[in-house]
């Protein structure tokens, strides 16, 4: 090799070296930039993480068997500052398990923060997926750091299944950078479902529906039925719940066997706790008689009394039943009961009308509103409805009275008010909801064939002094359209308010434009209000 060639090769090598160094430096800089940008500059956000843990992580269920799984939402640093203000969580099942339900988030440990107040925006449970959205309204210092949700799952077929939290559709809000926690550890579970469905019994509360007056005592019966032929019940523990504001427990009897309507001595009391402040009853009984003498249909009578008007459910929240079967524990199916406490029609023990107590005529009304088919979440289950009466003879109208209405499971809203009027006249009733066009009603039981089509001219409503029968106006639908601040018409402002808030779940947006009270301003609200353009103005 000649000298000239060596120089050229050395020069080429130098160029290659420089090129490699340049590439290395550029690539290094890019990685450094990405590293700093993604991690170092967000180091605090990384600290603001929550772990979502499920317990138990593995379990064996029988086909048809139900289990409760606890989901804990816990910041990685529980230092007193990291509080949770809201959740939007989606959890799905894979394989042979299904989701039956999930409870709203509660502070952990239970009862640790009794001041916590919130609103359930979404609780959408489908067989294979459930979503819950919940926000707390407390100031930040009153929020909880750790929350728990209980999920009820059921084995559907032999095999395996698991619960999977959908990270993409889950957000935990709170005192964190950007108000949103990053998700840290997110558990998956693995369950195996075995064999055929085991022997089962049905736990029921009867009668399934009851309507009683305020102050009236009535019995509800808890009973275990459908016990397999030749088998009996050796022990049972049940946890019952009821609305403490609507019902008062007068007494809880001892169990008897419904087969003989006796055999009290077959049962030994384990636990009998009645907590009127919580609306909770826990009962536990044991039967120590011979296997072939075991009771087959334990029955307990519970005497209750209506405290104030409203509807609610008497529920079996959890149950454990054992017997002389090889599996020891029965699988259970549950049948709850609902109750409707109405006004007693007399001057004593009556609810206080929210629309005023000064009138000589007391009205109880039942209403249905467009787009609301069930009971909204508690925080949304109250609407202030304006009501007035027009004397058909003198054509004079009363002032509006505002009354709070609440809904039952069927979306029927109940409320009451009172007026000082001449009871000898016939009246027209005007009802206007907080998101609604005013409805003119001339009949005591109006009906319509299509939503919003009822109309009338002449008032035909007779009223009497004191408490009148419940005015069941559920044969007609009150159309939405006139949103706050109301001006008596559906206009571009109302429609734009819904349109501009679409998808929002914050308190203000929901309070102003969630007309179907499902906790989110969505296309259903928009469609409802567009439909109301066919009426446009309050009926006068």
């Amino acid at each position: 090799m000649r000298f000239g060639e060596v120089v050229i090769i050395n020069k080429s090598m130098k160029k290659i070296k420089l090129f490699v160094i340049a590439v290395v430096i550029i690539a290094g800089s890019l990685f450094m930039w990405q590293y700093v940008n993604n991690f170092l500059s967000k180091s605090r956000a990384a600290v603001d993480r929550v772990d979502l843990t499920l317990s138990p992580k593995s379990e064996t269920l029988k086909v048809g068997e139900e289990k409760t799984i606890v989901l804990l939402i816990k910041p990685q640093l529980v230092d007193g500052d990291k509080k949770i203000s809201g959740i939007d969580l989606t959890i799905a099942t894979e394989g042979n398990i299904s989701i039956l339900g999930l409870t709203p988030p509660a502070p952990f440990p239970l009862g640790s923060n009794t001041n916590l107040k919130g609103a359930q925006l979404i609780n959408d449970v489908k067989e294979k997926q459930a979503r819950i959205a919940y926000v707390y309204t407390n100031p930040s210092n009153e929020l909880s750091s750790v929350l728990q949700i209980q999920l009820r799952i059921k084995g559907t077929a032999p095999g395996s299944g698991k619960l999977v939290i959908n990270k993409e559709k889950t957000e935990i809000a709170g005192i964190a950078i950007g108000n949103i926690f990053e998700l840290g550890l997110v558990d998956e579970t693995s369950y195996s479902v075995s064999g055929q469905a085991g022997p089962s019994v049905t736990l029921q509360i009867s009668p399934k529906t009851t309507q009683k007056e305020v102050g009236e005592a009535f019995p509800l019966t808890f009973q275990i039925v459908n016990t397999p032929e030749g088998k009996g019940i050796s022990a049972f523990t049940i946890n019952l719940s009821y609305d403490k504001d609507l019902l008062e427990i007068i007494s809880v009897g001892d169990p008897i066997d419904a087969v003989t309507n006796g055999d009290k001595d077959k049962f030994t009391q384990g636990k009998k706790e009645i907590n009127q402040n919580k609306g909770e009853i826990i009962l536990s009984y044991l039967s120590t008689v011979a296997q072939d003498q075991l009771p087959k249909k334990p029955k307990i009578e519970i005497q209750v009394k209506g405290k104030k008007t409203g509807t609610g459910e008497f529920k079996i929240v959890s149950a454990q039943v054992t017997g002389n079967i090889s599996e020891n524990e029965y699988q259970t199916s549950i049948e709850n009961a609902s109750y409707d406490i109405v006004s007693d029609g007399g001057p004593t023990n009556t609810p206080v009308p929210t629309g005023g107590t000064d009138g000589n005529v007391k009205l109880n009304l039942k209403l249905k509103f467009q787009g609301i088919l069930g009971k909204p979440a508690d925080a949304l289950n109250k609407m202030a409805v304006k009501i007035k009466l027009l004397n058909e003879l003198t054509e004079t109208a009363t002032d509006y009275k505002s009354a709070d209405f609440t809904a039952d499971d069927k979306g029927v809203w109940s409320g009451n008010t009172s007026f000082n009027i001449d009871v000898n006249a016939k009246y027209i009733l005007y009802v206007k909801g907080p998101y609604h066009i005013q409805k003119k009603i001339c009949d005591e039981k109006p009906i319509e064939t299509a939503d919003g089509t009822y109309s009338c001219i002449k008032g035909n409503i007779s009223l009497k002094k004191g408490y009148n029968d419940v005015f069941d106006l559920t044969g007609i639908i009150l159309l939405v359209g006139d949103l706050p601040d109301q001006n008596g018409a559906v206009d571009a402002y109302d429609i734009s308010l819904v349109r501009n808030n679409l998808g929002k779940t914050d308190e203000t947006s929901v309070a102003n434009s969630d007309v179907n009270r499902d906790g989110i301003v969505d296309t259903q609200d928009y469609s409802s209000i567009i439909a109301a353009l066919s009426i446009k103005q309050d009926e006068e």
Partner: protein, 199 residues
């Protein structure tokens, strides 16, 4: 020569260090990379403030103009077309209300048509006036800023000869004329009136 070789060694060490750094960083990034929550996604507690409906004295303009702008006289046997021209002062509009008073004995209202494809119009024929509600479709995400934009076309059939007025009114009964912005702000535009002669 020795100097050259030590340079080579330094170069190789540097190269190894950089590559080690890349590999380490890459592994770290892959192991720790998590999907970032979409920044615009609504959260359960995202503070959203709906501005109250502010009513301003006059903002923007709404004008009635004849379709044939050079003519003000029309034969009785021909329908006339009046357009509504809007100026929203750079505000993005999501809905509007319009009230037009006219002589119903002199004209029969035939129809109103939206000249904007992403707005629907709802018409209300009252005793002596017409009320309209214009609503932007849900599908439309494009901003709707009116800048002398013809938003609506109205067709009337003359019933008798004479000189008549079509007047945009700020309010009649419970019907208003206004624009509603994408922030649910109410704008009260300046309004005009239109004289038409029928012969």
């Amino acid at each position: 020569m020795e100097n050259n070789q030590s340079n080579k060694k330094i170069f190789i060490y540097l190269l190894i260090m950089f590559f080690a750094f890349f590999i380490g960083t890459s592994i770290f990034l892959i192991l720790n990379n998590k999907p970032q929550p979409p920044s615009e996604k609504e959260t359960a507690t995202a503070p959203t403030v709906i501005p109250p409906a502010e009513v301003k004295s006059t903002e923007g303009a709404l004008s009635l103009i004849l379709d044939q702008e050079d003519k003000t006289s029309f034969p009785k046997d021909k329908e006339i077309t009046i357009n509504l021209e809007a100026d929203s002062m750079e505000k993005n509009i999501s809905g509007y209300d319009v009230v037009i008073s006219y002589d119903p004995l002199a004209f029969e209202f035939v129809k109103a048509t939206s000249l904007l494809t992403d707005f629907n119009i709802y018409s209300y024929k009252k005793e002596s006036y017409l009320a309209f509600v214009g609503t932007k479709t849900l599908q439309s995400q494009a901003p709707s800023v009116f800048d002398k934009t013809k938003i609506m076309s109205l067709i009337f059939r003359p019933l008798k000869a004479g000189q008549f007025d079509f007047v945009l009114k700020p309010v009649i009964n419970k019907d208003n004329t206004n624009f509603i912005t994408d922030e649910t702000e109410t704008l009260n535009p300046a309004l005009n009136e239109l004289k038409v002669e029928i012969y």
